[in-house]
């Protein structure tokens, strides 16, 4: 494994091991966890988080974030419902929704790269705006009468297994994301941008273009997730996927992606996603209320920001004792 990731890798391993422990524990001790219907629910409910986590991981590695993803998914579902009510075919609607998602991402990206605004602030704004547009588009309607073959695909399972049919397309997207981040010049550049944006610029990397592409990809995947959500739950409403951004960000950070950019692996992020999904599933099984689940997710988010940082400080303290002899050219302020 590449050394620049070594600390994050250690955290990945921790999260991966934790996932295994939670799964084994739940299989052994939580009633109803192990039956294939529940497992398919678990994966189906986690897929929306997983889908958006893919581009979100790349975005956070590059030092940016997009909090409007759930609203984009909601908008995409609302537009899908409204157009379906208009009588358009689903084969036309879905591509339109994806284009819409890409445009939402483009707006975020342009505000961040052209105007130099912080993505955290920009996407909190569009989080509200996109959700508002979704409500204007669809009102309080719920559209449920989508074609059965699509509903069946989004809710169905692969043969006799507990895996949802949508899991296969997810694996393909995951493979694309892994290769993009860890094996292409594009992905390598993202690590440089996230770790030292100025140095990346001085190395000839087109920082703004990279970021713009990521925002568009994130918008696109959010819209795809919105389409999947509406079909999976057979309900297109303006408030679909509300609050999903919390789960996505928590899962990605839990997976060891450094909030400051420049560090992390997709393997860790995916482990984080399914760890969060498994915990949410178990909490539902033992009748923890939805509100309490949000509290747990929030606490996990804070822990996931803290955890790798504490681990790194311990590491730095150890390395510091070993390498404190390295010459220091800039010393800190002496007094006060």
């Amino acid at each position: 494994m590449p050394e620049s990731l070594s600390r994050a890798v250690r955290w990945d391993t921790v999260v991966g091991a934790l996932l295994v422990v939670v799964l084994l524990f739940s299989l052994g001790f939580v009633d109803g966890f192990g039956n294939s219907l529940n497992l398919s629910f678990l994966i189906g409910n986690t897929l929306p988080i997983a889908l958006i986590a893919l581009p979100m991981t790349l975005l956070v590695v590059a030092g940016e974030i997009d909090l409007s993803v759930a609203s984009t998914a909601g908008l995409s579902g609302a537009v899908m419902g409204a157009l379906w009510n208009q009588g358009m075919t689903i084969e036309t609607i879905i591509p339109l929704c994806l284009v819409l998602g890409a445009v939402c991402g483009l707006v975020n990206g342009l505000l961040v790269t052209r105007l130099g605004l912080p993505s955290l602030a920009v996407t909190i704004g569009t989080l509200a705006a996109y959700r508002g547009i979704a409500q204007i588009v669809l009102g309080s309607d719920a559209v449920t009468d989508f074609p059965t073959q699509y509903l069946d695909f989004a809710a169905g399972r692969l043969g006799d297994t507990f895996l949802p049919q949508a899991f296969l397309p997810f694996l393909v997207l995951l493979a694309i994301a892994v290769v993009t981040l860890h094996a292409t010049p594009f992905g390598r550049s993202l690590f440089a941008i996230g770790a030292a944006e100025e140095a990346a610029r001085f190395a000839g990397i087109r920082v703004k273009r990279h970021k713009l592409i990521l925002f568009v990809a994130t918008g696109l995947m959010s819209a795809l997730t919105g389409v999947f959500w509406a079909l999976h739950y057979a309900s297109a409403r303006y408030d679909n996927a509300t609050g999903l951004e919390l789960s996505v960000v928590a899962a990605v950070l839990l997976g060891g992606i450094d909030f400051d950019g420049g560090k992390g692996t997709l393997g860790g992020a995916v482990a984080g996603v399914f760890l969060l999904g498994a915990l949410q599933n178990v909490m539902s099984l033992v009748n923890v209320s939805a509100q309490s689940q949000i509290v747990v997710t929030g606490v996990l988010l804070v822990i996931s920001v803290l955890g790798p940082r504490v681990a790194r400080q311990i590491e730095v303290a150890r390395a510091g004792r070993r390498a404190a002899s390295a010459p220091v050219s800039k010393a800190p302020a002496p007094t006060s």
Binding site: P2, A192, A199, F202, R322, S325
Partner: protein
């Protein structure tokens, strides 16, 4: 060891057989040092020789594993920087950090302001005390002026005043001149001489040998953590000192080869960036090293940034190898064969948390990919090749560049750019903060590159470096190119005259 005299004053501060290890690394081995009142004592050594560790031991940051620190002949143990300060030892760092929104006086007396009744700060007394300190130093700085906007030189003066306000008897100055202009250095030296006459002991660290000879009386040399010598500077030559530092005879510091210039490789015509530089035109030919001199702030770095495309220009054009460059696009500049080694290697030259290998690979991501993917084999062999060619000292090629010494970091920046096979190489302050041995290596490398037909544009504030290495010297003053001086006519006087705007 040589003392000024056996009957003379006792040392105010002495280190006896100090050793300090970090894990397996022995940073200091039996180092001894005596500082006498009224002397300026140089601490010389290459990067990694142990100077920083020694300073930190004196400042109470590190506790020695063995040996004694003697203050006025009495053994003392510093448990932290506060202890050292209370003992009258002050460290002036290269780049002080002041509170920008507070006045000079408030900065100096931060946390211990003179008080009036019910704990109110006595501004008048603070002002008076600060004015008194400035008088002692012989400088004119308004105590009520906010620290924001003070030059680094002025900030250092404030730090020195602060040290005096603590009744410091030992001042340690860690490369104070690295970021100063010539006249600022002269003023700082005036202050140092004043302090010396008032009986202070000053430990002075600088990579600029001529400064050591100008201001110091004695020198202690360290090499690889070991004490080499403490001796008077009288009668020593720069070569003697360099030999102590590197442990061998150094090849020439400026090994410039004669090269017949070829065709024009870099052509800059009427380049303007509003408010920064105006109407800058020059050419650099294959095989030439062209020096770009001028005072800090004259616009040299800004021209380089615009030429490379990191900043946009407002008017003019740039050609590399006959190809016009796109405004504001470093990637097209790189494709045309341009490379820029920037002035700030930590922020601009390197991704500090990334490995040596990946930093060198960063400039080759587009050119060395295989089937659209990063070619890790090629990346590794490319970085190993260049690390060997430039004699980078590292433990593993996969270590983060932040683990390397400054000189070796600079070599990695050079490797990263040389690996692109540039036609034109712009180097901005290529040897700033680098020890003399590495400096000679960098110069030899630049000379060799020019001999191989690369066009080199060298920006430097180090005048001897410009004079020693450049075939031609371009001089900038306040955003304009004011002179072009051929090697034969280039002297400190002609270059400085143009740089300060006086007619040559």
């Amino acid at each position: 060891m040589t003392h000024p005299s056996d009957t003379g004053p006792a040392p105010v501060l002495a280190l006896r057989d100090i050793s300090k290890s970090f894990g397996a690394v022995r940073a200091l081995r039996n180092v001894s040092l005596e500082l006498f009142p009224g002397e300026v004592h140089a601490l010389a050594g290459e990067n990694g020789a142990g100077k920083s560790t020694l300073i930190k031991t004196l400042a109470g940051v590190h506790r020695p594993d063995a040996g004694q620190v003697l203050l006025d002949g009495e053994p003392v143990v510093f448990h932290g920087p506060g202890d050292a300060r209370d003992a009258g030892i002050a460290v002036i760092y290269q780049e002080p950090t002041l509170f920008p929104d507070l006045s000079i006086a408030e900065n100096i007396f931060m946390g211990r302001q003179p008080r009036r009744a019910i704990g109110r700060i006595d501004h008048k007394a603070t002002h008076e005390a600060t004015a008194g300190l400035m008088r002692r130093l012989g400088v004119e700085l308004d105590p009520d002026r906010p620290a924001r906007g003070l030059s680094i030189a002025d900030q250092q003066i404030v730090e020195i005043a602060k040290a005096l306000s603590f009744d410091a008897r030992v001042l340690i100055m860690d490369e104070p001149t690295a970021a100063l202009t010539g006249s600022e250095v002269a003023r700082l030296f005036g202050v140092v001489r004043t302090l010396r006459e008032q009986g202070a002991a000053v430990l002075f660290i600088s990579h600029r040998l001529e400064e050591i000879f100008e201001i110091c009386q004695r020198v202690t040399t360290l090499r690889d953590g070991a004490w080499i010598a403490s001796e008077p500077l009288d009668g020593m030559t720069e070569d003697d000192l360099v030999r102590r530092m590197v442990g061998r005879d150094l090849d020439e510091l400026y090994p410039k080869q004669d090269v017949t210039p070829g065709e024009v490789a870099l052509s800059v015509r009427r380049l303007t960036r509003e408010g920064v530089f105006t109407d800058v035109s020059f050419e650099v030919r294959c095989g030439e090293i062209v020096g770009l001199a001028g005072l800090v702030g004259a616009g040299r770095t800004e021209v380089a940034r615009a030429v490379f495309g990191v900043d946009r220009w407002d008017a003019g054009e740039v050609e590399v190898g006959g190809r016009k460059l796109t405004n504001g696009a470093p990637s097209t500049a790189m494709a045309a064969g341009l490379a820029l080694v920037p002035e700030d290697r930590r922020a601009q030259g390197l991704v500090m948390d990334m490995s040596i290998e990946r930093n060198i690979g960063l400039t080759g991501l587009r050119t060395t990919r295989r089937a659209g993917l990063v070619d890790r084999g090629a990346e590794r062999s490319r970085s190993l090749d260049w690390a060997v060619k430039l004699q980078v000292k590292y433990a593993r090629i996969a270590d983060a560049v932040s683990t390397l010494s400054g000189g070796n970091q600079q070599k990695v920046v050079l490797a990263k750019w040389l690996a692109t096979g540039p036609k034109v190489l712009i180097v901005d302050e290529p040897t700033r903060g680098i020890d003399v041995g590495t400096k000679a290596e960098v110069h030899r490398l630049l000379s060799q590159l020019a001999a191989d037909g690369v066009a080199v544009l060298m920006i430097s504030s180090d005048l001897p470096e410009i004079l020693g290495m450049a075939d031609r010297v371009l001089v900038m003053h306040e955003g304009r190119l004011t002179a072009e001086i051929p090697r034969t006519d280039a002297t400190e006087e002609t270059v400085m005259a143009a740089a300060t705007g006086r007619a040559a």
